[in-house]
Amino acid sequence: MRLHALLSLASLLPSALAVFADDAYHVDYHHALLGLPQQHTSFFQQPYAGSKAALIYTLSDKLVLGAVNPKDGHIVWRQSLASSDAIKSWLRAGQGQDTVVAAVGSHVTAWSAADGRLVWSAESLSGPVQDLEIIEIEDSEVSAGPKDVLVLFNASTPVVSRLDGKTGQVKWSFEDESGDAPLQVLASGAGIHYVSLHTTLLGGLKIKVVSLDQSTGHKTDQYSLSSESDLSSVDSILFVGANSASPILAWTDKFSRALKVNIVGTKSVASLDIEGKDGVGIDTISLHAPLATNSMPHFLVQIQTAQSHWADVYHIDLKRSLISKAYSLPRVAGKGAFATSTVDANVYFTRITADEVTVVSSVSHGILGRWPLKATAVPDLSDQPYPVSAVSEVVSRSGSAQAVRSAVLFSNGEWALIRNGEVTWSRPEALAGVTAAIWAELPETESLADQLEIESHGNILAAYIHRVKRHAGDLQYLPGWLQKLPSRILANFSGGSTRRPLDGLQKDSFGFRKLIVVATEKGRMAALNAGGSGKILWSMDTVPLTAEEKWTPQLRTSSGGAIAVHDQARGLSLLIDAATGKLLPVDPHVNSAFRHPSTGAAVVSYSLAEGEVRAHTPGQENPIPLWRFLPATDESILDITPRPADDPVASIGKVLGDRRVLYKYLNPNLVLVTAVHRTASTLSVYLLDSTSGDVLYTASHSGVDVTRKITSAISENWFTYSYTLDVSSSSLSRGHQLVVAELYESAIPDDRGPLDTAANYSSFQPAAAPGDVAKPHVVSQTFQISEEISKMSVTQTRQGITSRQLLAVLPESNSIVGIPRNVIDPRRPVGRDPTPAEVTEGLVRYSPVVDFDPKWYLNHKREVFGIVGLITSPSLLESTSLIFAYGLDLFGTRVTPSFSFDVLGKDFNKLQMLATVVALFVGVMFVAPLVRRKQINSRWQIT
């Protein structure tokens, strides 16, 4: 018994794979992204009081809260706050505080600024958050702890609550029962104000300001501004100044001719003219004001037209409640971004245009510093990027700006830190939210295969001349090759060759250098170099989209290193060169038919549309419906998972311990359909033959939580799917389950079913053999797993000899695991120990729970957020499969499910091997004469 256990343990050993410590961070690459930072939720801030260095905090449009180190652009910490009901988001930090407070949806959360740990969280049951502020100026009692938070909830009766900065407990609440639409809350030196909008009979909006007592929340004062004549929608309210010494309310009139500004606390409205300088319509007006309580009451109004932009700086006289224009900043062609920063009481405005960075003080128009802007790092094929928004930090000494660093979001989605005009780092935030990705081969100008093709088809003489010419042509590379030879040999012996970064676009002998073409939901496409640590090669805006639209194109490889992009919703068809990103002319005939990747034959095309699977006749101009699949009554299809078109299988059978063979059911046209019955909470899986539409296998699971992730994968002769059981399930177990099913030609070993060894088989034509041939024998088992799986995929290798791994994305722990195939083998014996024959097969006793071994985690110390897809690709090495995961983050690595049996490890010392050979040779040279003499002596001497 014990021997068996030992043997079974031993059989498990090769599967106990892990990412080796010296491979981690070398074979994998990771773009940890945040999403596009928003201007109003990004700022520089010290992580704790007295800290010398500041971090950049941002809450992105993907609702990821992150702290970025301004020195190198690395993420210090990240938290995903994504929620379904979130429309707007807020992020605030009090001066000299060690927490940042974020509000998304109806949740308010405080996070430790230094390490991103949750400090407290508060949830409103009444409605979503409408505004969030930090009470900077404490009223009576001076508390040392974190400053309190002011939240406005947009419920049926809007509520203003003051939350304890330490615990998130409500200190007081003020309910507004007037029925007006809540707009914002203000916490400033002038007290707490609640701003709401009252709709008048004529449709205009009247701004109502309620003053609240800071310590009790009681209403102390209330007044309305007569804004109804020029304010008709919330969108024309530009700014409600928060936390500054003199909060202001600013809105534009209906024609964007004048800017109306009110100093909160007073009833007067100042009207400031906006001059249209070049006679063109104004696109946007934005207002930039300092947010520090002790800063000077100055603000800047930026006016952007299609051609140019300029700005006016205004000063507020607090004593007389007057607003006056101080100076104007000149008009500059193109688009620009302004950022406000404060040093003590001084306010500085940083202006970033497409070609320079300038800093001015709010007091006078004299330029304190000017730096020309150098181009951004990543080649962008679309238009010249321009700055969209920016946050800045200015170092000022004796009246002039010594240095300025700005985190600028460019129109191409690059978030860059510009320090004195130089790009210190740049983050490709445009790639956050990839919806489709595909592998592409490296371009080869003239592949050897093509040349040999020409030679084999010509007559002998022509082929000979061609070959001589080709060899002569190849001679030009000889000097270069000879030049590199010594360095290559040296690199080989020092073991450096495997560590050398692969950045070029030339093919490598291992096939690790491949391209990945990705498409983002914002209509952008980019290419990454999988061999060169995921470097972005090009990036371009492909499709213009509105803010709400999400782009989910289909990508397919086309001939000649091109990628075909299909967007059925827009009727768009593009052909893109994977290496350069250039658009190629589309040949309409090539793309219309789905073709088999290796044979080129037209195949039956099918798709999931309108809740059903439809297939059409192949290779025709006007395809005719061939078969149609609707799931059982009241079920709706979740997804279809086809067997990969290129899925090599090394062995057609599985050799059992007693030398008999179970033949695999290898149908290239398998497609797995998952469907759920939402009211009955059942999950059904259907295995179809995609040529005829025949149902080969069905299975139903009841008591399934249909709102959670249900995902499936299919490869070779097995498929798998996972789901979560709900509370009502009649099953004895609860939680997440993984089902694995294997398909065989027959249940009996050494039997191939009625079809036997027939070379051809048709899904349409009647079979010549007696018996129902098309149905596989299915062996399946269910395992209990510890975590939900959101996406599954299977590793692919060149010949399919290497055992496979099931790759699973675990969204709860932000990781990806590679589950060895033999752990989830459905033939594991249940309720008994394996027989000696089964042990030799590598089968171990079934245990209902599959724990994710820490060694299976492919992401090791990295955290991969928001993964929506996984793609795999074989490399030229049989042992190795390339993996790329996409979504919010981009993560790539390579795995060796059966170890790297076909490549020398890094620790293999070539020098030592050579030294051993040399030493042996020297030894032989030295010993050979001695031996020879001894042999001669032994024959001639008689002693």
């Binding site: 059903e612 297939a615 006749t617 006007n622 005719i624 419906p625 061939l626 078969w627 149609r628 699949f629 609707l630 799931p631 059982a632 009554t633 009955a680 059942t682 999950l683 040529t691 005829s692 539409g693 025949d694 149902v695 296998y697 069905t698 299975a699 139903s700 009841s702 099953s731 004895l732 177990s733 389950q737 089902v739 027959s746 249940a747 009625p754 048709s762 349409f764 034509q765 009647p766 079979a767 010549a768 053999a769 007696p770 018996g771 129902d772 041939v773 098309a774 149905k775 024998h777 299915v778 399946s780 088992q781 269910t782 395992f783 209990q784 249940v830 309720g831 079934y846 245990s847 209902p848």
Partner: protein, 193 residues
Amino acid sequence: MRLPHPLLLLSTALLTLAASPVSNLDLIIYAWPVLPSSTPTPLAQISYNPTTLNATLESWTPPTEPIDATALLRIGLHDPQAPAEASWTGIATSASSLDPAYRKKLTLFTDGEGRVWRVGFSAFARGSGEEEVLVEVQGRNEGPRPVLNRPVVLNKEGKVEGAKEEKTFLQKYWWAIGIFILVQVVAGGGGKE
């Protein structure tokens, strides 16, 4: 999957005729060619029992008009009241499958309530004396459940039923201690000279 023995199928069909607790339901299976426009024509009429999952073929009317043997056919279900393009569900097969020289198998897939939601079809070589058309009903197939370990059951004394009581050290090794003492006693005598 191996085919169930034909005799077995025949016997179940006979059983259906004998007694059925729930009344049998009728089902018409249609066939029509894969062409841009074609109307489904009845291929088979089947009477099946949704609870016992037995079915009998009432009539078999393959298309009479000669179809090109390489042409494709759709076989499936269709709601005669609704337009054919919208209401059908079915599979594709070759027209030559309907040749009387082949044996056909119609599989009716039923859901939990016994309603047929899909039809499967296959054709294969026909042995002499075998029926031309076989009908099989496939009900809802429950997916596998995890085989859980049995919980440990304790009796009234809080002990595992049937488990052997653990022997104490003395009970286990009394003989070794005995030998040791014996050796000590026997060998000890000669010590004093």
